[in-house]
C-alpha cells in the first residue's frame, strides 16, 4: 500500500486493492447491517465520508500538539463529536433515514476505518493529504456498501429503487426480477453474510491472480537475468580460453 503503488494504479483498482471492507475487513458491522436498500447504503456512505474526511483534517492539525500517551482518547473525542453533529443533522433533515439507520449512526464512532485512518495516516501527514485520504477511504467504503446493497436489493426484492431522503419521494423505481421470483433470503441476515462472503472471495480472487501474474513476471525477469549472467560468464570463459 505504498504511495507510489496507489498512484500508479487507477481509481477503480485502488477501490478494490485498498478496499477497507472486503480487503482489510474493517467496518464490517455496518456494511452487513444497513445494506438492505440502496438508500440506506448511500445515507450511511455519505455520513461516513463526511465524518472520515473532517476527522482526518482535524486530527492531522492537532496531532503535533497531542501528547503521545493520550492520543487515542483525544482522537475518539474528535470523532464522537463529529458523529454527534452528523447524527443531529440527519435527524433534522432526513428523519426517516435516521430512524432506519438507527444506532448504526452512533456506532460510526467505533467504526475501525475512522480510528484506523487517524492512527495510520492522518497523524503523520499534512492536511491536504489527510483530507484526500479520508475522501478516498470514505468513497471506497461507500463503494462497498453500494455493491452489497445493489446485490441484496435486486435479488431480495426484485426492485431497484431510489428515493429522496428529505421528502421520501420515490425518484426512481425499476423492477428487474418479476414478482414472485425474488429471493427474499437476501434481505435477511443470512443474505448479508452470503453476499459479503461472495464479494470478499471475489476481491481475494482478483488479488491472488494479480499476485500470481506479478510473481510470474518477476520469475521471468530473474530467469532472464540468470541466463544473461550465464551467457556472460560463458563468453568470459571462452574469451579466457581463446587467450
Amino acid at each position: 500500500m505504498s504511495e507510489s503503488n496507489t498512484k500508479k494504479r487507477g481509481f477503480w483498482s485502488e477501490m478494490i486493492y485498498n478496499n477497507p471492507v472486503f480487503g482489510l475487513y474493517l467496518g464490517i458491522c455496518s456494511t452487513l447491517a444497513i445494506t438492505t436498500t440502496l438508500n440506506n447504503a448511500i445515507g450511511m456512505g455519505v455520513a461516513v465520508i463526511v465524518v472520515l474526511t473532517i476527522s482526518n483534517i482535524v486530527i492531522s492539525l492537532i496531532a503535533p500538539l497531542t501528547p503521545d500517551e493520550i492520543h487515542i482518547p483525544v482522537y475518539i473525542v474528535v470523532i464522537a463529536t463529529l458523529v454527534t453533529v452528523v447524527g443531529m443533522i440527519m435527524h433534522a433533515f432526513t428523519p426517516e433515514l435516521y430512524s432506519t439507520l438507527g444506532t448504526f449512526i452512533d456506532l460510526i464512532v467505533v467504526n475501525c476505518i475512522i480510528l484506523g485512518r487517524a492512527e495510520a495516516y492522518a497523524c503523520s501527514h499534512n492536511v491536504g493529504e489527510s483530507a484526500r485520504d479520508g475522501l478516498m477511504m470514505g468513497l471506497s467504503y461507500t463503494f462497498s456498501l453500494l455493491a452489497m446493497s445493489l446485490i441484496r436489493q435486486i435479488l431480495g426484492s426484485g426492485v431497484l429503487e431510489l428515493s429522496n431522503p428529505m421528502t421520501n419521494q420515490v425518484l426512481f423505481s425499476l423492477r428487474l426480477i418479476p414478482a414472485g421470483f425474488e429471493i427474499p433470503v437476501f434481505t435477511t441476515q443470512t443474505g448479508a453474510f452470503l453476499t459479503f462472503a461472495m464479494l470478499a472471495a471475489g476481491v481475494a480472487a482478483i488479488k491472488n491472480s494479480d499476485e500470481k501474474k506479478a510473481a510470474a513476471a518477476a520469475k521471468a525477469k530473474a530467469d532472464a537475468a540468470k541466463a544473461a549472467a550465464k551467457a556472460a560468464t560463458a563468453s568470459a570463459a571462452k574469451a579466457k580460453e581463446a587467450a
Binding site: Y25, I28, C29, A80, T103, D106, L107, Q189, A197, A201
Partner: protein
C-alpha cells in the same frame, strides 16, 4: 417486560452477532482458536456488564438532570475507554495469571462496538436498572455463545480443502450465514 423473555431474546433471537451484526471484528479476529475465544468471551461479558451499568448511571444521574442527553455518545465512549483501562490495570495488579489469559483481549474491547451498542441500547429502549443488568449479561453471553460455536467450526475448517480465494475470512462468512439460518429458528421461541 418479563426478565426471562428479555434474557432469551437478547441471547438467542436478537443475537448480537448473527442478527444485529455487532462485534464482527473480534468475531473474525479471535475465532480461529477455541482457547482465545473463551478468553475474549469472558472479557467481553465482564466489560460490557460493567460499562453498561456505569453508562446507565451516568446517563440518568448526571446527563439527564443537567439536560445534556445529546452528549451521551461522547460521554459513553470516554467512559468505556476509561473503564477498560482501569480494569486492565486492576487485573494486572491483583491477578497476574488472569491478566495473562485475558490481558491481550482487553485493549481490543474498546473498539468492540458491542460495548457501545449495549450501553446505547439500554438507554434507547428505556430499560430500568434491573433490565439493564439482565440485558447487559444476555447480549455478551450471546456473543460468547456464537463465538464458541464458531471457533470450534473454524478449527475444523482450518484443515478443510477450501478453494484458494475463499480461504480465511470469506469461508468464515459462509459459515456465519449458515449459523444465521440456524439461529433464525429461535424466532418463534418467545
Amino acid at each position: 417486560m418479563n426478565l426471562l423473555t428479555l434474557f432469551l431474546s437478547a441471547l438467542l433471537i436478537n443475537n448480537v452477532i448473527l442478527s444485529k451484526f455487532i462485534g464482527m471484528c473480534p468475531f473474525l479476529g479471535v475465532s480461529t482458536k477455541l482457547s482465545s475465544a473463551v478468553g475474549m468471551g469472558l472479557a467481553v461479558i465482564f466489560v460490557v456488564f460493567g460499562a453498561s451499568v456505569l453508562s446507565w448511571a451516568l446517563y440518568y444521574y448526571a446527563l439527564v438532570p443537567l439536560g445534556l442527553e445529546y452528549m451521551k455518545l461522547i460521554c459513553f465512549i470516554l467512559l468505556i475507554a476509561a473503564f477498560v483501562q482501569f480494569v486492565e490495570m486492576f487485573i494486572k495488579k491483583t491477578s497476574p495469571s488472569l491478566y495473562k489469559s485475558l490481558g491481550i483481549y482487553l485493549p481490543l474491547i474498546t473498539t468492540n462496538c458491542a460495548v457501545l451498542y449495549v450501553a446505547l441500547d439500554n438507554i434507547t429502549q428505556g430499560y430500568t436498572l434491573v433490565e439493564t443488568m439482565v440485558n447487559s449479561i444476555a447480549v455478551p453471553a450471546g456473543f460468547m455463545l456464537v463465538l464458541l460455536i464458531f471457533a470450534t467450526i473454524r478449527e475444523r475448517l482450518a484443515t478443510a480443502d477450501v478453494p484458494e480465494a475463499w480461504k480465511g475470512n470469506p469461508i468464515a462468512f459462509v459459515v456465519a450465514a449458515i449459523m444465521a439460518i440456524a439461529f433464525s429458528a429461535f424466532a418463534g421461541l418467545v
